[in-house]
């Protein structure tokens, strides 16, 4: 199975909706956001393709791409022929809704929770979409590129200890 064969099959099925790249020789397919499940299902079900293992699922934030700021990346693996590929979908950061892949890959459950945790992607239909690594009461998505490097509003740093002046928090309420 070559990149060209996968590309041919996908184009035959989905037509002009998909765009392709092969950075460093690995095929990347970009699909419309509402087509993500259909593309994954097609890659899963088609006998000659057989991408039945989800290696990784994550997101990337491109703050400059208007209306397509958040890109959700699926890394797929055909374990029979040892072929890998990527599927990407892009959503606007104001309404980051994509369909969950948990019905297809049960392993996507925690990966989607992680992606939600760090990027705020809303996986529609996920059975249990809540934070997985960060503290539950966190009210922001830390890996979005929308924060200055040194956030001047942060109050949980003890600036005194870093030689920057400031005051040491003495009570739990100071930390908040």
């Amino acid at each position: 199975m070559t990149n060209e064969k996968i590309r041919e099959q996908l184009t035959e099925k989905f037509g002009e909706q998909l765009s392709f790249e092969t950075p460093y020789g690995m095929l990347s397919v970009t699909a419309p956001a509402d087509q993500n499940l259909k593309v994954l299902q097609f890659l899963f079900d088609t006998e000659e393709l057989g991408f039945r293992f989800l290696t990784d699922l994550t997101a990337v934030h491109y703050p400059d791409r208007n209306g397509k700021e958040l890109v959700i990346v699926y890394h797929l693996h055909n374990l029979f022929e040892n072929v890998r590929m990527r599927v990407k979908v892009a959503v606007p950061v104001e309404k980051p809704d994509v369909f969950t892949a948990t019905s297809l890959f049960p392993g996507a459950n925690w990966m989607e929770r992680e992606t939600y945790d760090f990027y705020g992607v809303n996986f529609v239909g996920h059975p249990d979409l809540r934070r997985i690594l960060n503290a539950d009461e966190m009210d922001y998505f830390p890996l979005r590129k929308e924060y200055t490097l040194e956030d001047p509003k942060r109050t949980d740093k003890d600036d005194e200890m870093f030689g920057r002046g400031g005051k040491i928090a003495t009570t739990v309420s100071d930390v908040k």
């Binding site: 690594l133 503290a135 830390p142 003890d158 200890m161 928090a169 009570t171 739990v172 100071d174």
Partner: protein, 189 residues
Amino acid sequence: MPRPVQYNTNEKVKFVDLPQGYAGEGFYATSFDKVVGLARKNSLWPLPFATSCCGIEFMATMGSNYDLARFGSERMGFTPRQCDMLLVAGTISKKLGPILRQVYVQMAEPRWVVAIGACASSGGIFDSYSVLQGIDQVIPVDVYVPGCPPRPEGIIDGILKLQELVGNESLRRRTSDQYKSLMESYGIQ
């Protein structure tokens, strides 16, 4: 001629000095808090709360080379209810903060806390959104051991410093208003 004793002559064993007091034939009188302090400081039960590399250094401290048991901390208790010295070794994330606090609350008074290493003391290199900038943000700390990670000698030094605190602690300290207000500032009853 009696056989000479060659072993266990106690030449190298260091004994704890007697506290100040009055000795006479068959009695020794000293103040109660000195005796209690002596007993407490030489039998601190450590509770390790190790999350990273400082924990490895602490394991070396407990091992035969450095042998913390020499200072009366023979047995680690892996339950907060039996221990009186909480050793926090490693990075504490904000999510772990409430758990550490719960472990501290479960310990019986009197209890002492040692923050081992830069992360436990101040957050260390992790000046980050997810890391607690020092465990003294959630629980009171008695001794800070600097280093990233500190050597076992450093940890032993910290524990000896703590022993000094424990030995000289007033028996009334834990019921004092100052101590109560300290606990209240951390929201601990």
